[in-house]
Assembly symmetry: C2
DNA sequence: ACCTGAACACCGTTCAAGT
DNA sequence: ACCTGAACACCGTTCAAGT
């Protein structure tokens, strides 16, 4: 008797918490049930099924991005894009195990481009860019380029951050390889260039690359606007 | 008695064929068994489990990229990158249902950046860029930027191409909405800008965007080289 | 050496029954 | 109105048994 009173929001939040901890493949209706202190099949009274549940999680994950976005206005479309980019990056970094849902869950329409798939955010983006005076074809072009950019960078960052520090599927035998991992099962002898560049390859430059790439994309839009 | 003689390659090919047709979530060991005309659990004699099976599919999917890549040499590193980019794009377009495995399956090491995750291809890329005279830190930088770029563009293209033309999960009731689909469950009244730009949004400019973005990335590398 | 078939522990989902 | 519990059809994986 711990306060049941199930509802859509409580379920979505619990599912997100569970995914943050154990990953989305480990989430089952039954486990989420016991996680909620309820008999599992009670969830179906509030959400249509597992697929719909993951859609709820995704929406909860992304709904925070558009909130408070208006305050960032009044500057420039460049600053506005920077703001959105960093907000979505925060989501990807804070929820690395949940973020890949943006690509796993099929969007509601084919012209929706993850990770910008929340309709309110799309509306906000298109409307705001228009208000800053960008022509319509340019507005749509920015939406599409921007999505691709975020997708590429953030999915890779999330994969990196969300990778289990725990051992891979094949359990480690104690007698072999107490190595620090990054070249565990990779034969460096047959890939000498990888070996020689291993130091550089292991450097994590995600944040710089993100900032540089974002700047470059904005520069490219500016150049297009002038031509 | 149709020639069984199971082996790793035949299994991987059959799994890829199955995924191309039905998607990777529908692939089960049992279904693949009957698809191969074999008693399902026979697969375990050749691959360790479902996860390993998907890794095999992924490897088969990408192994073709590095083959015949040497012939493209002798030109310039720009042409070389263009060649790889288009080869990987071909894979994404020809196997839209299988391509998302590049992000679903965790890579063997954290410094590996999908979709360029085949070790032979990574070795080839790093070595070749070096031979063209790029400095080491630039070589690694190109690997990373290039991966992000391909990831963003190709995953979105694959999602678009692989989306089921069949109805979504919620079966369509006959009396409502015989609409052509792209705005099926989306309320356009609350998203007027989306409505006004719907014509532009539905245009498929994936290929142009890919070519333009690729060119821009290469230009950026050239500029970095001169500075 | 390779495949089979029964078995185990888990799934998503449905539905009649409880309160 | 909301939750329960049994049931059904499926899973991945193990293992002794067949040939």
């Amino acid at each position: 008797m711990v306060r049941t009173h199930l509802n859509r929001e409580r379920i979505a939040q619990a599912a997100l918490d569970f995914i943050d901890e154990h990953g989305s493949v480990s989430l089952s209706m039954r486990k989420l049930g016991t996680y909620l202190g309820v008999e599992a099949m009670a969830i179906y009274r509030h959400v249509e099924g597992r697929e719909a549940l993951l859609d709820c999680v995704l929406q909860r994950l992304m709904s925070g991005v558009v909130d408070g976005l208006d305050e960032a206005l009044g500057q420039s479309w460049q600053g506005y894009l920077q703001d959105i980019a960093h907000r979505i990056r925060d989501v990807a970094i804070r929820h690395p195990k949940a973020f890949p849902l943006v690509v796993t869950q099929h969007p509601a329409a084919p012209w929706i481009r993850p990770p910008i798939r929340d309709l309110d955010l799309i509306e906000h983006l298109l409307r705001t860019l228009r208000e800053y005076g960008l022509p319509d074809d340019m507005v749509v072009d920015v939406y599409q380029s921007f999505s691709s950019f975020l997708m590429g960078h953030l999915l890779l960052e999330a994969m990196h951050a969300g990778a289990d520090p725990t051992a891979p599927a094949t359990a480690i035998r104690e007698e072999e390889a107490p190595a620090p991992a990054p070249f565990g099962r990779i034969n460096l002898d047959t890939h000498p260039t990888v070996q020689e560049l291993s130091g550089l390859l292991q450097r994590n430059t995600s944040e710089e690359q993100f900032e540089i790439g974002l700047e470059a994309m904005i520069d490219r839009i500016e150049a297009n606007l002038r031509s």
